[in-house]
Every structure is written in C-alpha cells, then in structure tokens.
Symmetry: C2
Subunit: 182 residues, 2 copies
C-alpha cells in the first residue's frame, strides 16, 4: 500500500474541495474541478466516491457536522443558551462565503433529491429543538413561536449575507436576540 489510510485522506480532501467548488461554481461543479482542487485525478475521485452525487452528499454532511459541533461546543460553555446558538450560527467558521454559498446550493438541491431534503430536515428540526429548549429555559412565554422567529431570522441572515459585501456578525446576533427578548 502507498500510504497508511490513504482512503481517509483522499476522501477528506475531496469533501473539502467539493464544498469549496460548490460554493464558487454552484450546482454545475465538475468532478474534474473538485478532483483538481483536491490534488488528484478525476478517476481517483470516482474511485473513492461512487459518483458525483455522493461527493456532494459528503460535502453537505460535512457542513452539517461542522455546524452541529460548533453549536454543541458553544452550548456546553455558556449560560446563555440562546445567545450561544445564535452566535455559533453566524460565527465566522460557519459563515465563510464558500460555506454559505454551499448551504444555498443544497437548499436548491433539497427540492429535487431525497438525500438533501432529508439532511436539511434534520438540521431544521435540531435547530428548532435547540431554540425551543433555550427559550423555555430562560422562561420565555410562547417559546415555540419565538423559536420559529429566531430560526427564520438565522436563515434570513444567511441569505442576506450572501449578497451583502459588508456583514457585521456582532450586529446580526444583537438584532436577532433583540427580536425575541425586547
């Protein structure tokens, strides 16, 4: 064998490249472009992932996993659960332009392919559950309704950040929190 765990390394590189390429080129990414950015031949990319769809699915899973772990990490260290969820959502790590762009692409893809819809649904349910829990625990009346509002605000903030050249994460967090705590 060439190197130990070559497969793991290659797959990771391909997933990262897929996220970046989807972010820049949208849905019409080519396997060749992903493979090139990951530093290998298109044939090898096909060898490790069954096909293009599986690469994209891997990319979306990675984005979801990164976001989830950021939220979980934030929750564990803070008393203000709501603020930490919102902060993690617009944190620079999850808010890189390429990542946000890839998110958007997956929203589009969710209207056609089952895997994207399923993954997106998991994200939405978990986010809402986290928000309801946070709002209830701080004694918010109508926590369920407020959770919907915050969830929509987070998604809307993502959407606007895509076209906004100047984006102030701090201000966005404050605005979102104010909408349900004012």
């Amino acid at each position: 064998m060439a190197r130990p765990d070559s497969e793991g390394i290659r797959r990771k590189a391909l997933v990262n490249a897929a996220i970046a390429q989807v972010g820049t080129s949208g849905l019409d990414v080519t396997v060749a472009a992903i493979a090139r950015q990951a530093g290998m031949s298109p044939a090898l990319a096909h060898h490790y992932f069954g096909g293009k769809a599986q690469m994209l699915e891997g990319a979306m899973r990675q984005i979801l996993a990164d976001y989830s772990s950021a939220v979980r990490e934030g929750l564990s260290g803070s008393g203000d659960r709501l603020a930490s969820i919102v902060s993690a959502s617009v944190a620079p790590e999850n808010f890189r332009p390429l990542t946000v762009a890839a998110w958007l692409v997956f929203y589009v893809e969710a209207q056609r392919s089952d895997w994207a819809r399923r993954l997106l649904r998991i994200y939405q349910l978990r986010l809402r559950s986290n928000l309801r829990h946070a709002l209830r625990s701080e004694g918010h009346p109508r926590a369920a309704e407020a959770a919907e509002t915050v969830a929509a605000l987070i998604d809307g903030t993502y959407l606007r950040a895509v076209t906004e050249p100047r984006f102030d994460g701090r201000a966005a967090v404050a605005r979102i929190l104010a909408a349900v705590r004012a």
Copy 2:
C-alpha cells in the same frame, strides 16, 4: 408575418416556462426543456433570446416585477403599510413553490453572474426602503434596525417554506409582525 406580435407572445411564454423549469430542475435547466414547455423548438428560443443566460435573466426580471407590483398594489389600498408589505411578500401568488425555488436559484446565481447580483441588490434595497418607510410612518423607534429584522424574517420565511411541506402564510405574517411590534 405569421401572427401579430409573435415575438411578444413567444418571449412571454419562454419567460414563464423558464421560471417553471428553473423551479423544478434548478440551475441545470436545458434550453430544450424550456422551449418544449413553451411549445416551440429550441432553435426558436435561441432566436428570440440571445441565449440561455438571457432567458434566465428574463425570468428573474419577471419574478422581480411580479413581486414589486404585488407590493405596490398592497400598499395603495391599505393603511397598515407594514402589514401589506409582509402580506404581499408571502402571498400565494409570489409564494408558489416554483417561484420560491426559482428565487433560490437566482440567489445562488448572484454569487457568480453580475446581472443576478445587480437585480437582487435592487430588490433588497427597495424592500428595505419600503420597510423603513412603513416603520417610520407608524412611529416605530429604531425603524432602521427593525427594517433589517423584518427583511431577514421575510427571506428566512421563504427559505423555510421551501422545505416545509405545510406552510401557513397567515401565521407567518402574524409572527413576522409580532417580532417588531410586540
């Protein structure tokens, strides 16, 4: 000439077909599919629009125009300016699944092509301007901040409606208004 104003009829049919096809097939629409849905040959579609990009641009312009006229119409007949803007935004006519899907696709496209970014920017600026005006006219303190909140809520509501099988427009309007008037 074959029929009077054949060009106008053809172009209108192509734009509508483009919206529908973009909504269902995403970015990778084919000119052939658009032309088929519009009841003509692909070659004729190329004849009336310079190319695929111009068809998509026409589709986005149409969506923007429809949305604008809905908002304008709502504003003219109502005393509650804020409510009429929000209502028009999630009104069934602008909220058809295909239309929302096309919106999303254009958001993605806006990251790459100038025309999409420019059109999207116009929409965003106009929406914010309308919202600020409405909020100021009802004496809202911090109208500018509240306008940002409402704008993000509208966009976020769009985004969530895409994957939400059941969507209650009435409830969404109430929730959005409550977020800035409570």
